[in-house]
């Protein structure tokens, strides 16, 4: 293996530490809110229904937002090895993000906004009496700030990549796909993934900003209306792409670290590059699978939504997860907490894809859409896919950049986390299977049993998360200050 060292500037290490800490901390908090929602659905506590939907709104918004923040930290950290990134932009994004979060929190908790993280037009302006313009303005405005911050970040990533590689076509490795250049010279996986994420997220954020601005205008000038079907398309294009981009940023940790843990190379090769180009296209155009129950949509879009959602599973199933299995097979890898989380994220991604593919089938969607089946799918995919990457990165930073050693409690909480999220997701899927609708503050007695199971497993996962965050916070101040311990410790020793 040519270069087993991660050459990262200590400034970059310190730069990503705070957002990753915030990400872990808020994911923990949002999990606790999740348990409260479940307690209410299980009829074990009574919160008022407005509060339930406020918690639901902050849980969804916060999870997606903070997971994206953490995953962007992963991308920034590793990408800085290959291209010149301007750290100012990262800081500006962080500031806009935090301002946006404050605005969202005030909108929800002080002004009672509870329009859901999908803020489906025209709900923000027509709350049926629960919240007024102020709440909606703060929420939508906050989202706009967060979106603008991320837009700047991805524009900077694009700029840096293009100035080094010439164009996105080059950094996606098209010349190598078409045999114009040798496979050996293909851009590294981190650059390929960052290119993909920049393309899809710039698209997503523009769509998101457009609908946010239009919704804001509509709040104050109701005669300015938007076609509700167009609004829905914009929102799901934004929401689907942005939420999915999290795992495509997080997977950079897998590409960077598994080679170092196993002493085996993971380079871009033809099929790998083709898979990433396909993922770029699919991620942008499969969002209509959220609109399968909008019969007025052009039918060809919905059929494409199903067919390409199926195909969208292939890159991860054939290339990334398969590659991860191949690289660790008989590698003599040392399973510490970081490498365990990396492998877990691959497992979570793959099993999270299964219920998603099933639900993307139009005739299945007809009885599964907006049931608990959907949270079942994405709590697997996000909970032990994307979140595992972020937690893995937290353990990576404290281990290699701050000399942490694994403790018994880390391993114990690792297993608790897996069991917790698996149990929670299974309880959601089971609920979906018995037709429990999603986003219902109160459940009828027939639906309650799985909620009680969910409370138990959700609590286990939340406690595990608390341990991860605590361990990170205690050690994080050392990151980037001590000499990096990486060089010696993970140069592959057999």
């Amino acid at each position: 293996m040519d270069n087993p060292l991660v050459k990262i500037n200590p400034m970059t290490k310190r730069l990503v530490t705070f957002p990753v800490l915030m990400s872990g901390l808020f994911i923990f908090l949002m999990m606790a809110f999740g348990v409260i929602m479940l307690l209410n659905q299980a009829n074990m506590i009574q919160i008022n229904m407005g509060m339930f939907y406020q918690l639901m709104t902050i849980h969804g918004t916060g999870m997606i937002g903070f997971a994206a923040l953490g995953a962007a930290g992963i991308m920034w950290y590793f990408l800085s090895q290959y291209v010149e990134l301007n750290r100012r932009v990262f800081q500006i994004n962080l500031i806009l993000f935090l301002l946006g979060v404050v605005s969202v929190l005030v909108g929800i908790f002080k002004y009672d906004f509870a329009g859901g993280w999908t803020f489906l037009y025209p709900l923000p302006a027509m709350s049926g009496g629960m919240w007024a313009e102020a709440g909606a303005t703060l929420y939508l405005g906050g989202m706009l700030l967060i979106g603008c911050g991320f837009l700047l970040l991805f524009l900077e990533v694009s700029r840096a990549i293009i100035s080094k590689y010439g164009s996105f076509a080059q950094s996606l490795g098209w010349p190598h796909i078409f045999g114009l250049r040798k496979e050996e010279d293909a851009p590294p996986p981190t650059v390929v993934a960052s290119t993909m994420v920049s393309i899809v997220n710039i698209t997503a954020l523009i769509a998101g900003a457009a609908i946010l601005v239009m919704s804001l205008i509509n709040l104050y000038n109701p005669s300015f209306t938007i076609d509700p079907l167009l609004a829905k398309n914009l929102i799901y294009a934004f929401g689907h792409i942005f939420a999915n981009s999290i795992i495509y940023m997080g997977v950079i940790l897998v590409y960077e670290m598994l080679p170092r843990y196993t002493g085996r190379p993971w380079k871009s090769y033809k099929i790998f590059l083709i898979a990433w180009t396909l993922s770029t296209i699919f991620t942008i155009i499969i969002y209509p699978h959220h609109l399968l129950m909008d019969f007025v949509m052009p039918n060809w879009m919905l059929i494409i939504g199903q067919v390409l959602s199926y195909m969208n599973g292939l890159p991860v199933l054939i290339v990334t997860a398969y590659g991860a299995l191949m690289i660790v097979y008989r590698s003599g890898i040392k399973w510490d907490v970081t490498s365990s989380f990396i492998m877990l994220s691959m497992f979570g991604w793959v099993i999270g894809v299964i219920p998603a593919i099933i639900d993307a089938t139009i005739i299945v969607n007809q009885v599964m859409h907006n049931t608990q089946w959907v949270p079942g799918h994405f709590h697997l995919y996000m909970g032990i896919g994307a979140t595992a990457m972020i937690i893995g990165f937290m353990f990576y930073l404290t281990k290699f950049d701050a000399n942490r050693t694994d403790q018994e409690i880390d391993r114990a909480s690792f297993w608790s986390f897996i069991i917790g999220i698996l149990g929670l997701s299974a309880s959601f899927l089971y609920s979906g299977q018995i037709s429990t609708p999603r986003r219902w503050a109160e459940h009828v007695p027939e639906w309650i049993a799985p909620n009680i199971i969910g409370v138990i497993f959700g609590t286990i996962a939340t406690l595990a998360m608390l341990v991860f965050v605590f361990r990170f916070i205690v050690i994080s101040h050392k990151i980037g200050k001590s000499e990096t311990s990486f060089d010696e410790s993970t140069r592959k020793i057999s």
């Binding site: 199926y310 660790v328 097979y329 639900d359 109160e442």
Partner: protein, 182 residues
């Protein structure tokens, strides 16, 4: 032949759940097998890759065929167009509003064919038809400015519930409506 999607006897929830469990277990076994075999070191990674890529070709062909087969099997009878049997269906108008349902008729007959034209006065809602066992039979979105039509034939008499399936505000979960099928 797949059962036509608009027929309300369709139960796909259970197979979906079972397939998910089975395939997840399979994935689990594969990961477990690899992890069990990860501790010893084989220096010849090129050899492993060569074998791995061969297996992958087979795996790819199988996976692709399964997905393709599933596509053809499931895409033939979509709920979007009016099925020929429904040409003379009884037309029913439904309007959703925060937070209730307005039906042009409340009583229905077993074996009759109905076309429900669903729209909304205010925000997005979703109309979900639940049977007496509280199983979801079919649904469509209720949108402002648009009308979605869902085709239903009730096979059993009883009290059916209409539940809102799109989050529409603070009383979303109170948007329940009963209809009678005789």
């Amino acid at each position: 032949m797949a059962q036509p999607a608009w027929m309300i006897t369709l139960n796909v929830q259970q197979p979906a759940w079972i397939i998910t469990l089975l395939v997840s277990s399979l994935v689990f076994i594969v990961f477990w097998f690899i992890l069990k075999n990860s501790k010893d070191r084989e220096e010849d990674y090129d050899g492993i890759k060569k074998k791995g890529f061969k297996i992958r070709n087979v795996y790819f062909v199988i996976l692709f065929s399964v997905l393709l087969g599933a596509t053809f099997y499931t895409i033939t009878d979509l709920p979007y167009d009016r099925p020929p049997e429904f040409v003379n269906a009884t037309e029913v108008e439904v309007e959703a509003l925060q937070f209730g349902w307005d039906f042009s008729q409340e009583e229905f007959e077993v074996g009759e064919k109905y076309a429900f034209h669903v729209t909304s006065q205010d925000v997005n809602h979703g109309i979900g038809f639940y049977d007496e066992d509280m199983m979801l039979l079919t649904q469509t979105q209720a949108m402002p400015d648009y009308t979605n039509t869902v085709y239903v034939e009730f096979e059993e008499p009883g009290t059916y519930q209409i539940l809102c399936l799109e989050y529409c505000g603070a009383a979303h979960h109170l948007m329940i409506h009963e209809i009678e099928v005789k």
